[in-house]
Amino acid sequence: MPRVRGCGGASVGAGMRRCIARPLACSLVVAVSAGSAAQSPSDFSGHWKINQAKSSAGATGNNAKVSFPSELVVAHHGSDLRVEIRYPRTDPIVATYPLGGGDVAVPVPGVTETARAVWDGGRLVITARRVVSTPFGDFVTDTREVWSRAGGVLTIQKTQTSEGLSETETGVFEGGS
């Protein structure tokens, strides 16, 4: 009995599976590429205020496990992102992140903080290491913030790690430009 040939002369079986699989794989690659292209860097500019009710329970108030600022004032300046970070009990801190990568010193009074911001598709990822020096030794806290924007809502997922203890909380900010 003659074997039925599939496309390209391949016999049905392994050849036919390849025949179907290749275009399918190509389609998936194209679809994924198109999805990535759609995730262009977001514009985080604007004045953002935290919404405590929409943020996770451990993000605000006296039970906060990971502390979030009450307000953020964000501006894009060329390839830099300038962020004014406002907490209710301390003076504002202004950090300017080069979005092409590279470490920056964040001027937090009394501590040493180094941070870096990079794009991850449409999201911005800011990693930082804060060192608090004391007469008893240094205390190191690492944070990783993932920023994403949808219209007038800025969501920041923040993970804080120190002494093997890691916590993640979500702050929801409203406003923008």
Binding site: I50, Q52, A59, T60, G61, N62, N63, A64, K65, S67, F68, P69, S70, Y87, P88, R89, T90, V108, P109, G110, V111, R130, V132, T134, P135, F136, G137, D138, F139, T141, Q160, S162, E163, G164, L165
Partner: protein, 141 residues
């Protein structure tokens, strides 16, 4: 000289009020919200005092020395509301404490959370100084 009882009572009231005012300080006056620290150690004492409780833990520092850290918490009533019980804090229990360093350079901090290593139970210390926005109205410390 004999002091009239009413004068003694008033004087005692004034003195105790003054002491309470001194003890019930603002967070910012004593602690630095820019200086988060995390300590791992063992409980040596818990003081259920007003207006703040105090947890003492022994911490082995990077240089090998053991330092006793004093960690301020909310008042006992506030801790009780947050689920703290005396039996949760046995002497010698290992804990991880998050908090904010004191401004005066001593081994003192304002605690935000206390995690019991053996059970994973997390207790909130009711710190007013997390650096986060204020609690909603009605959620008293």
């Amino acid at each position: 000289m004999k002091i009239p009882p009413i004068v003694a009572v008033v004087a005692a009231g004034v003195l105790s009020s003054a002491a309470a005012i001194e003890a019930h300080h603002s967070f910012a006056a004593q602690y630095d919200a820019n200086k988060p620290i995390t300590l791992r150690g063992t409980i040596s004492r818990m003081l259920w005092s007003n207006p703040h409780g105090h947890l003492y833990i022994e911490v082995k520092m990077p240089d090998g020395k053991v330092v006793t850290w004093e960690l301020e918490t909310a008042a006992p009533a506030g801790l009780y509301r947050r689920g703290w019980r005396r039996e949760d804090l046995p002497i010698g229990a290992e804990v991880v404490v998050r908090g904010y360093l004191a401004r005066d350079g001593t081994a003192t901090a304002n605690a935000t959370t206390v995690t019991l290593v053996a059970t994973g139970k997390e207790l909130f210390a009711g710190s007013a100084g997390t650096g986060a926005p204020e609690e909603p109205p009605g959620d008293v410390r």
